[in-house]
Protein backbone atom coordinates (compact mmCIF):
# COMPACT_ATOMS: atom_id res chain seq x y z
CA UNK A 1 0.00 0.00 0.00
CA UNK A 2 2.75 2.36 0.97
CA UNK A 3 4.44 1.62 -2.29
CA UNK A 4 1.30 2.40 -4.24
CA UNK A 5 0.88 5.71 -2.47
CA UNK A 6 4.44 6.73 -3.10
CA UNK A 7 4.09 5.71 -6.73
CA UNK A 8 0.91 7.73 -6.98
CA UNK A 9 2.71 10.67 -5.45
CA UNK A 10 5.44 10.43 -8.04
CA UNK A 11 2.83 10.42 -10.77
CA UNK A 12 1.05 13.39 -9.22
CA UNK A 13 4.29 15.32 -8.86
CA UNK A 14 5.19 14.60 -12.44
CA UNK A 15 1.73 15.70 -13.50
CA UNK A 16 2.01 18.91 -11.50
CA UNK A 17 5.39 19.66 -13.04
CA UNK A 18 4.01 19.29 -16.54
CA UNK A 19 1.09 21.55 -15.70
CA UNK A 20 3.41 24.18 -14.28
CA UNK A 21 5.49 24.01 -17.42
CA UNK A 22 2.61 24.31 -19.83
CA UNK A 23 0.54 26.94 -18.06
CA UNK A 24 2.34 30.21 -17.72
CA UNK A 25 1.72 32.52 -14.81
CA UNK A 26 1.14 36.15 -15.67
CA UNK A 27 0.16 39.49 -14.19
CA UNK A 28 -1.50 41.85 -16.63
CA UNK A 29 -1.95 45.58 -15.99
CA UNK A 30 -4.63 47.22 -18.12
CA UNK A 31 -2.71 50.50 -18.30
CA UNK A 32 0.99 51.16 -17.66
CA UNK A 33 1.49 54.84 -18.49
CA UNK A 34 -0.66 57.34 -16.63
CA UNK A 35 -0.81 61.12 -16.44
CA UNK A 36 -2.34 63.49 -13.92
CA UNK A 37 -2.28 63.74 -10.16
CA UNK A 38 -3.53 60.26 -9.34
CA UNK A 39 -5.43 57.36 -10.81
CA UNK A 40 -6.38 53.70 -10.65
CA UNK A 41 -5.04 50.73 -12.54
CA UNK A 42 -6.63 47.30 -12.60
CA UNK A 43 -4.82 43.97 -13.03
CA UNK A 44 -5.50 40.30 -13.71
CA UNK A 45 -3.35 37.55 -12.23
CA UNK A 46 -3.76 34.09 -13.69
CA UNK A 47 -2.14 31.16 -15.42
CA UNK A 48 -3.01 29.82 -18.85
CA UNK A 49 -1.54 28.31 -22.00
CA UNK A 50 -2.41 31.30 -24.17
CA UNK A 51 -0.82 34.34 -22.59
CA UNK A 52 -3.34 36.79 -21.09
CA UNK A 53 -6.26 34.47 -21.90
CA UNK A 54 -8.42 33.94 -18.83
CA UNK A 55 -9.30 30.29 -19.30
CA UNK A 56 -7.39 28.12 -16.83
CA UNK A 57 -6.75 29.15 -13.24
CA UNK A 58 -6.36 32.13 -10.93
CA UNK A 59 -3.05 33.32 -9.53
CA UNK A 60 -2.46 33.28 -5.78
CA UNK A 61 -2.55 36.78 -4.34
CA UNK A 62 -0.74 35.89 -1.09
CA UNK A 63 2.35 38.06 -0.84
CA UNK A 64 1.25 40.42 -3.58
CA UNK A 65 3.23 43.63 -3.03
CA UNK A 66 3.05 47.12 -4.49
CA UNK A 67 6.32 49.05 -4.32
CA UNK A 68 5.79 52.82 -4.62
CA UNK A 69 8.10 55.26 -6.44
CA UNK A 70 9.58 56.11 -3.02
CA UNK A 71 10.36 52.45 -2.38
CA UNK A 72 7.65 51.93 0.25
CA UNK A 73 5.30 48.96 0.15
CA UNK A 74 1.55 49.22 -0.21
CA UNK A 75 -1.19 46.66 -0.49
CA UNK A 76 -3.22 46.02 -3.58
CA UNK A 77 -6.93 46.81 -3.24
CA UNK A 78 -10.17 45.07 -4.15
CA UNK A 79 -8.53 41.66 -4.49
CA UNK A 80 -10.95 39.15 -5.94
CA UNK A 81 -10.22 35.52 -6.76
CA UNK A 82 -12.59 33.67 -9.03
CA UNK A 83 -12.40 30.32 -10.76
CA UNK A 84 -10.21 31.57 -13.57
CA UNK A 85 -8.47 34.70 -12.37
CA UNK A 86 -7.48 36.93 -9.54
CA UNK A 87 -8.09 40.65 -10.08
CA UNK A 88 -6.96 43.64 -8.08
CA UNK A 89 -6.57 47.42 -8.30
CA UNK A 90 -3.88 49.83 -7.26
CA UNK A 91 -4.31 53.52 -6.57
CA UNK A 92 -1.36 55.46 -7.99
CA UNK A 93 -0.98 58.73 -6.13
CA UNK A 94 2.75 59.44 -6.38
CA UNK A 95 4.57 60.60 -9.50
CA UNK A 96 6.94 57.95 -10.79
CA UNK A 97 7.21 54.21 -11.27
CA UNK A 98 5.46 51.52 -9.24
CA UNK A 99 6.56 47.87 -9.22
CA UNK A 100 3.86 45.29 -8.52
CA UNK A 101 5.21 41.85 -7.73
CA UNK A 102 4.92 38.40 -6.22
CA UNK A 103 8.19 36.88 -5.08
CA UNK A 104 8.91 33.62 -3.32
CA UNK A 105 11.72 31.17 -2.90
CA UNK A 106 14.36 29.81 -0.61
CA UNK A 107 15.77 26.43 0.30
CA UNK A 108 13.99 23.16 -0.40
CA UNK A 109 15.11 19.69 0.61
CA UNK A 110 13.80 16.29 -0.56
CA UNK A 111 15.00 12.95 0.70
CA UNK A 112 14.02 9.45 1.66
CA UNK A 113 14.05 8.36 5.26
CA UNK A 114 15.42 5.10 6.64
CA UNK A 115 12.26 3.24 5.52
CA UNK A 116 12.45 4.67 2.02
CA UNK A 117 9.61 7.12 2.61
CA UNK A 118 9.82 10.41 0.74
CA UNK A 119 10.04 13.55 2.81
CA UNK A 120 10.51 17.23 2.15
CA UNK A 121 11.30 20.47 3.93
CA UNK A 122 9.94 23.05 4.43
CA UNK A 123 6.28 22.02 4.75
CA UNK A 124 4.06 23.09 1.88
CA UNK A 125 3.30 26.81 2.01
CA UNK A 126 6.05 27.52 4.52
CA UNK A 127 9.34 29.29 4.00
CA UNK A 128 12.55 27.53 4.98
CA UNK A 129 14.75 29.10 7.61
CA UNK A 130 18.30 27.93 6.75
CA UNK A 131 19.10 27.78 10.49
CA UNK A 132 16.54 24.97 10.89
CA UNK A 133 18.08 22.78 8.20
CA UNK A 134 20.24 20.76 10.56
CA UNK A 135 17.31 19.82 12.80
CA UNK A 136 14.64 19.49 10.09
CA UNK A 137 16.56 17.16 7.82
CA UNK A 138 17.73 13.91 9.42
CA UNK A 139 21.43 13.20 9.32
CA UNK A 140 20.83 9.82 7.68
CA UNK A 141 18.57 11.18 4.89
CA UNK A 142 19.03 9.16 1.71
CA UNK A 143 19.07 10.62 -1.80
CA UNK A 144 19.05 14.08 -0.29
CA UNK A 145 18.51 16.86 -2.80
CA UNK A 146 18.75 20.41 -1.57
CA UNK A 147 17.91 23.21 -3.95
CA UNK A 148 17.75 26.95 -3.71
CA UNK A 149 15.04 28.41 -5.90
CA UNK A 150 13.32 31.70 -6.57
CA UNK A 151 10.19 32.72 -8.38
CA UNK A 152 9.13 36.24 -9.27
CA UNK A 153 6.17 37.62 -11.26
CA UNK A 154 6.01 41.36 -11.73
CA UNK A 155 4.97 44.35 -13.77
CA UNK A 156 5.37 48.11 -13.75
CA UNK A 157 3.12 51.19 -13.86
CA UNK A 158 4.22 54.82 -14.11
CA UNK A 159 2.31 57.96 -13.20
CA UNK A 160 3.96 60.97 -14.88
CA UNK A 161 7.68 60.72 -15.42
CA UNK A 162 9.35 57.28 -15.16
CA UNK A 163 11.53 56.90 -12.07
CA UNK A 164 14.18 54.43 -10.89
CA UNK A 165 13.85 53.76 -7.16
CA UNK A 166 11.25 50.98 -7.29
CA UNK A 167 13.30 49.18 -9.94
CA UNK A 168 16.24 48.51 -7.62
CA UNK A 169 16.97 44.78 -7.26
CA UNK A 170 16.70 42.98 -3.92
CA UNK A 171 19.71 40.82 -4.90
CA UNK A 172 17.77 37.69 -3.99
CA UNK A 173 16.87 35.18 -6.68
CA UNK A 174 16.49 35.82 -10.40
CA UNK A 175 15.65 39.46 -11.09
CA UNK A 176 15.40 41.83 -14.01
CA UNK A 177 17.14 45.20 -13.82
CA UNK A 178 15.92 47.51 -16.56
CA UNK A 179 18.47 49.32 -18.72
CA UNK A 180 15.59 50.56 -20.87
CA UNK A 181 12.85 51.76 -18.53
CA UNK A 182 9.98 49.23 -18.52
CA UNK A 183 7.38 51.99 -18.87
CA UNK A 184 9.20 53.77 -21.69
CA UNK A 185 9.06 51.07 -24.33
CA UNK A 186 8.44 52.08 -27.92
CA UNK A 187 7.93 49.81 -30.89
CA UNK A 188 10.73 51.43 -32.90
CA UNK A 189 13.31 51.20 -30.11
CA UNK A 190 14.98 47.96 -28.96
CA UNK A 191 14.91 47.40 -25.19
CA UNK A 192 17.74 46.10 -23.01
CA UNK A 193 17.29 44.33 -19.69
CA UNK A 194 19.90 42.89 -17.37
CA UNK A 195 19.29 39.74 -15.34
CA UNK A 196 20.78 39.16 -11.93
CA UNK A 197 20.98 35.96 -9.90
CA UNK A 198 21.41 36.80 -6.22
CA UNK A 199 22.73 40.21 -7.25
CA UNK A 200 25.31 39.03 -9.80
CA UNK A 201 24.90 39.08 -13.61
CA UNK A 202 23.04 35.94 -14.71
CA UNK A 203 24.70 34.56 -17.83
CA UNK A 204 22.83 32.28 -20.19
CA UNK A 205 19.34 32.95 -18.84
CA UNK A 206 16.76 31.48 -21.22
CA UNK A 207 14.35 34.27 -22.07
CA UNK A 208 11.07 33.87 -23.92
CA UNK A 209 9.10 36.87 -25.19
CA UNK A 210 5.54 36.46 -26.42
CA UNK A 211 3.17 39.14 -27.67
CA UNK A 212 -0.33 38.96 -26.22
CA UNK A 213 -3.20 37.72 -28.34
CA UNK A 214 -1.75 34.29 -29.22
CA UNK A 215 -5.31 32.97 -29.39
CA UNK A 216 -5.79 35.00 -32.56
CA UNK A 217 -2.75 33.76 -34.44
CA UNK A 218 -1.82 30.29 -35.66
CA UNK A 219 1.58 30.30 -33.96
CA UNK A 220 2.70 31.78 -30.65
CA UNK A 221 5.65 33.42 -32.48
CA UNK A 222 7.80 33.20 -29.38
CA UNK A 223 11.06 35.08 -29.36
CA UNK A 224 13.74 32.85 -27.75
CA UNK A 225 16.75 34.71 -26.38
CA UNK A 226 19.64 34.18 -24.01
CA UNK A 227 21.46 36.66 -21.80
CA UNK A 228 25.05 37.51 -22.77
CA UNK A 229 28.18 37.45 -20.59
CA UNK A 230 26.97 40.55 -18.76
CA UNK A 231 23.52 39.11 -18.14
CA UNK A 232 21.99 41.42 -20.76
CA UNK A 233 19.28 40.61 -23.26
CA UNK A 234 18.18 42.87 -26.11
CA UNK A 235 14.61 42.73 -27.39
CA UNK A 236 13.30 44.08 -30.67
CA UNK A 237 9.54 44.49 -30.43
CA UNK A 238 7.46 43.51 -33.44
CA UNK A 239 4.47 45.74 -32.90
CA UNK A 240 2.71 47.82 -30.27
CA UNK A 241 0.98 45.76 -27.64
CA UNK A 242 1.39 43.85 -24.39
CA UNK A 243 4.24 41.38 -24.08
CA UNK A 244 4.95 38.58 -21.64
CA UNK A 245 8.56 37.85 -20.79
CA UNK A 246 9.52 34.60 -19.11
CA UNK A 247 13.03 33.75 -17.92
CA UNK A 248 14.63 30.64 -16.42
CA UNK A 249 18.05 30.12 -14.95
CA UNK A 250 19.89 27.27 -13.27
CA UNK A 251 23.43 26.73 -12.01
CA UNK A 252 25.42 24.84 -9.40
CA UNK A 253 26.52 27.88 -7.40
CA UNK A 254 23.99 27.49 -4.63
CA UNK A 255 24.37 28.57 -1.03
CA UNK A 256 25.19 25.63 1.21
CA UNK A 257 23.64 23.23 2.00
CA UNK A 258 21.94 23.49 -1.40
CA UNK A 259 23.84 22.16 -4.39
CA UNK A 260 21.92 23.77 -7.20
CA UNK A 261 20.00 27.00 -7.53
CA UNK A 262 17.33 27.97 -9.98
CA UNK A 263 15.25 31.03 -10.69
CA UNK A 264 12.13 31.71 -12.68
CA UNK A 265 10.98 35.19 -13.58
CA UNK A 266 8.14 36.65 -15.58
CA UNK A 267 7.02 40.17 -16.35
CA UNK A 268 4.49 41.96 -18.49
CA UNK A 269 5.43 45.02 -20.57
CA UNK A 270 3.38 47.39 -22.64
CA UNK A 271 5.01 48.58 -25.85
CA UNK A 272 3.48 51.79 -27.20
CA UNK A 273 4.03 54.21 -30.08
CA UNK A 274 7.32 56.03 -30.51
Amino acid sequence: MKKIISQLMVVCLAGAAVTAEAHRGWMLPYETVKAGESGWVTFDLASSNDIFQIDHGPGRAEGLTVLTPEGKTEEAQNIFTGKLRTSFDINVTQQGTYKIFLASGGLNARWEDAEGKRASWPARGEKANPADFATAVPKDAKNLQVTQSSRRIETFVTLGKPSQQALAPTNVGLELVPITHPNDLAVSEPAEFKFLIDGKPAVGVKVTVIAGGTRYRNAAEELELETDKNGIVKIQWKAMGVYWLGANYKDEKAQKPAKSRSGSYSATFEVLAE
Partner: protein, 173 residues
Protein backbone atom coordinates in the same frame (compact mmCIF):
# COMPACT_ATOMS: atom_id res chain seq x y z
CA UNK B 1 24.21 110.81 -22.78
CA UNK B 2 24.96 107.14 -22.38
CA UNK B 3 21.36 106.51 -21.42
CA UNK B 4 20.16 108.34 -24.47
CA UNK B 5 22.44 106.32 -26.72
CA UNK B 6 21.21 103.10 -25.19
CA UNK B 7 17.66 104.17 -25.70
CA UNK B 8 18.33 105.01 -29.32
CA UNK B 9 20.10 101.74 -29.94
CA UNK B 10 17.26 99.86 -28.25
CA UNK B 11 14.74 101.63 -30.40
CA UNK B 12 16.71 100.82 -33.52
CA UNK B 13 17.47 97.27 -32.49
CA UNK B 14 14.11 96.23 -31.14
CA UNK B 15 12.09 96.19 -34.38
CA UNK B 16 14.75 93.93 -35.89
CA UNK B 17 14.69 91.63 -32.85
CA UNK B 18 10.93 91.41 -32.66
CA UNK B 19 10.70 90.60 -36.35
CA UNK B 20 12.55 87.31 -35.82
CA UNK B 21 9.56 85.11 -35.28
CA UNK B 22 7.78 81.88 -36.03
CA UNK B 23 4.15 82.07 -37.06
CA UNK B 24 2.35 78.77 -36.96
CA UNK B 25 -1.12 78.17 -38.35
CA UNK B 26 -2.61 75.02 -36.81
CA UNK B 27 -5.75 73.62 -38.38
CA UNK B 28 -8.04 71.56 -36.19
CA UNK B 29 -10.01 69.71 -38.86
CA UNK B 30 -13.78 69.59 -38.91
CA UNK B 31 -14.73 65.94 -38.63
CA UNK B 32 -18.16 64.52 -39.26
CA UNK B 33 -18.34 61.83 -36.63
CA UNK B 34 -21.17 60.77 -34.35
CA UNK B 35 -19.33 61.70 -31.17
CA UNK B 36 -16.89 64.57 -31.51
CA UNK B 37 -14.64 65.96 -28.80
CA UNK B 38 -12.14 68.71 -29.48
CA UNK B 39 -8.67 67.17 -29.70
CA UNK B 40 -5.83 67.54 -27.26
CA UNK B 41 -3.08 69.36 -29.19
CA UNK B 42 0.65 69.72 -28.59
CA UNK B 43 2.96 71.94 -30.65
CA UNK B 44 6.66 71.62 -30.03
CA UNK B 45 10.13 72.06 -31.53
CA UNK B 46 12.99 69.58 -31.50
CA UNK B 47 16.50 70.32 -32.63
CA UNK B 48 17.98 67.79 -35.04
CA UNK B 49 21.05 67.32 -32.80
CA UNK B 50 21.42 63.96 -31.07
CA UNK B 51 22.04 63.06 -27.45
CA UNK B 52 22.67 65.74 -24.85
CA UNK B 53 22.75 68.49 -27.45
CA UNK B 54 19.19 67.82 -28.51
CA UNK B 55 16.73 70.44 -27.32
CA UNK B 56 12.97 70.13 -27.07
CA UNK B 57 10.66 73.08 -26.55
CA UNK B 58 6.92 72.92 -26.07
CA UNK B 59 5.20 75.94 -27.63
CA UNK B 60 1.53 75.12 -27.08
CA UNK B 61 -0.61 72.49 -25.32
CA UNK B 62 -4.38 72.57 -25.56
CA UNK B 63 -6.26 70.28 -23.21
CA UNK B 64 -9.34 70.13 -21.03
CA UNK B 65 -8.45 72.81 -18.51
CA UNK B 66 -11.95 73.11 -17.02
CA UNK B 67 -12.17 69.87 -15.07
CA UNK B 68 -11.77 70.20 -11.33
CA UNK B 69 -8.58 69.01 -9.61
CA UNK B 70 -6.70 69.12 -12.94
CA UNK B 71 -8.75 66.13 -14.05
CA UNK B 72 -8.04 66.95 -17.69
CA UNK B 73 -4.36 66.12 -17.17
CA UNK B 74 -5.29 62.43 -17.26
CA UNK B 75 -5.30 62.26 -21.07
CA UNK B 76 -2.15 64.30 -21.75
CA UNK B 77 -0.24 61.01 -22.16
CA UNK B 78 -2.42 60.15 -25.13
CA UNK B 79 -0.34 62.68 -27.06
CA UNK B 80 2.15 59.86 -26.83
CA UNK B 81 5.07 61.31 -28.74
CA UNK B 82 4.91 64.70 -27.05
CA UNK B 83 4.43 63.00 -23.68
CA UNK B 84 7.67 61.03 -24.08
CA UNK B 85 9.67 63.87 -25.60
CA UNK B 86 8.68 66.68 -23.25
CA UNK B 87 5.19 66.49 -21.74
CA UNK B 88 5.95 64.26 -18.78
CA UNK B 89 8.77 66.61 -17.74
CA UNK B 90 6.50 69.66 -17.63
CA UNK B 91 4.32 71.01 -14.86
CA UNK B 92 1.09 72.29 -16.39
CA UNK B 93 -0.43 74.82 -16.67
CA UNK B 94 2.30 77.01 -18.20
CA UNK B 95 1.54 80.67 -18.89
CA UNK B 96 1.54 81.47 -22.58
CA UNK B 97 1.84 77.81 -23.53
CA UNK B 98 -1.10 75.81 -22.20
CA UNK B 99 -4.74 76.55 -22.80
CA UNK B 100 -8.17 75.08 -23.39
CA UNK B 101 -8.98 72.83 -26.35
CA UNK B 102 -10.00 74.69 -29.52
CA UNK B 103 -12.91 74.35 -31.90
CA UNK B 104 -12.29 73.19 -35.44
CA UNK B 105 -10.74 75.84 -37.67
CA UNK B 106 -7.36 77.49 -38.18
CA UNK B 107 -5.62 78.81 -35.07
CA UNK B 108 -2.71 81.21 -35.48
CA UNK B 109 0.20 81.16 -33.09
CA UNK B 110 3.06 83.62 -33.10
CA UNK B 111 6.35 83.19 -31.25
CA UNK B 112 8.98 85.92 -31.12
CA UNK B 113 12.48 84.57 -30.85
CA UNK B 114 13.92 85.78 -27.55
CA UNK B 115 10.58 85.95 -25.81
CA UNK B 116 8.84 83.35 -23.66
CA UNK B 117 8.32 80.53 -24.49
CA UNK B 118 10.83 80.69 -27.37
CA UNK B 119 13.57 82.39 -25.33
CA UNK B 120 16.26 81.16 -27.66
CA UNK B 121 16.57 79.49 -31.02
CA UNK B 122 20.23 78.83 -31.84
CA UNK B 123 21.34 78.33 -35.43
CA UNK B 124 20.54 74.82 -36.58
CA UNK B 125 18.13 72.29 -38.03
CA UNK B 126 14.78 71.78 -36.34
CA UNK B 127 11.53 69.92 -36.65
CA UNK B 128 8.21 71.46 -35.70
CA UNK B 129 5.80 68.78 -34.42
CA UNK B 130 2.05 69.04 -34.09
CA UNK B 131 0.32 66.11 -32.38
CA UNK B 132 -3.43 65.74 -31.93
CA UNK B 133 -5.30 63.10 -29.96
CA UNK B 134 -9.06 62.94 -29.74
CA UNK B 135 -11.34 61.26 -27.20
CA UNK B 136 -13.14 58.35 -28.95
CA UNK B 137 -10.97 59.21 -31.93
CA UNK B 138 -7.49 58.77 -33.27
CA UNK B 139 -4.08 60.29 -32.94
CA UNK B 140 -1.69 61.77 -35.48
CA UNK B 141 1.66 63.56 -35.54
CA UNK B 142 2.69 65.96 -38.32
CA UNK B 143 6.32 67.04 -38.74
CA UNK B 144 7.56 70.22 -40.40
CA UNK B 145 11.39 70.34 -40.76
CA UNK B 146 13.13 73.71 -41.08
CA UNK B 147 16.50 75.43 -40.73
CA UNK B 148 17.10 78.50 -38.59
CA UNK B 149 17.93 81.35 -39.06
CA UNK B 150 16.50 82.53 -42.36
CA UNK B 151 17.62 85.50 -44.47
CA UNK B 152 14.13 86.18 -45.76
CA UNK B 153 10.67 85.01 -44.81
CA UNK B 154 10.13 81.34 -45.59
CA UNK B 155 7.02 79.17 -45.49
CA UNK B 156 6.82 75.43 -44.83
CA UNK B 157 3.61 73.42 -44.88
CA UNK B 158 2.46 69.90 -44.11
CA UNK B 159 -0.99 68.40 -43.83
CA UNK B 160 -2.07 65.43 -41.77
CA UNK B 161 -4.28 62.70 -43.18
CA UNK B 162 -6.62 61.86 -40.31
CA UNK B 163 -6.54 63.93 -37.13
CA UNK B 164 -4.32 66.91 -37.98
CA UNK B 165 -5.28 69.51 -40.59
CA UNK B 166 -2.95 71.86 -42.45
CA UNK B 167 0.09 73.11 -40.56
CA UNK B 168 1.80 76.20 -41.95
CA UNK B 169 5.02 77.51 -40.51
CA UNK B 170 6.20 80.98 -41.51
CA UNK B 171 9.75 81.89 -40.50
CA UNK B 172 10.49 85.60 -40.27
CA UNK B 173 14.16 86.74 -40.11
Amino acid sequence: MLKKMMLVSLLVASPVLSAASLNIAVEVPKLTVAEYHAPYVAVWLESAAEGDKKTTKTLAVWYDTKMKDNGGHKWLKDMRQWWRRDGRDLQLPIDGVSGATKLSGVHNLSFTVGQVPLTELPKGDYVLYVEMSREVGGREVVKVPFTWPVKEAATHSQTGSTEVGAITLVLNP
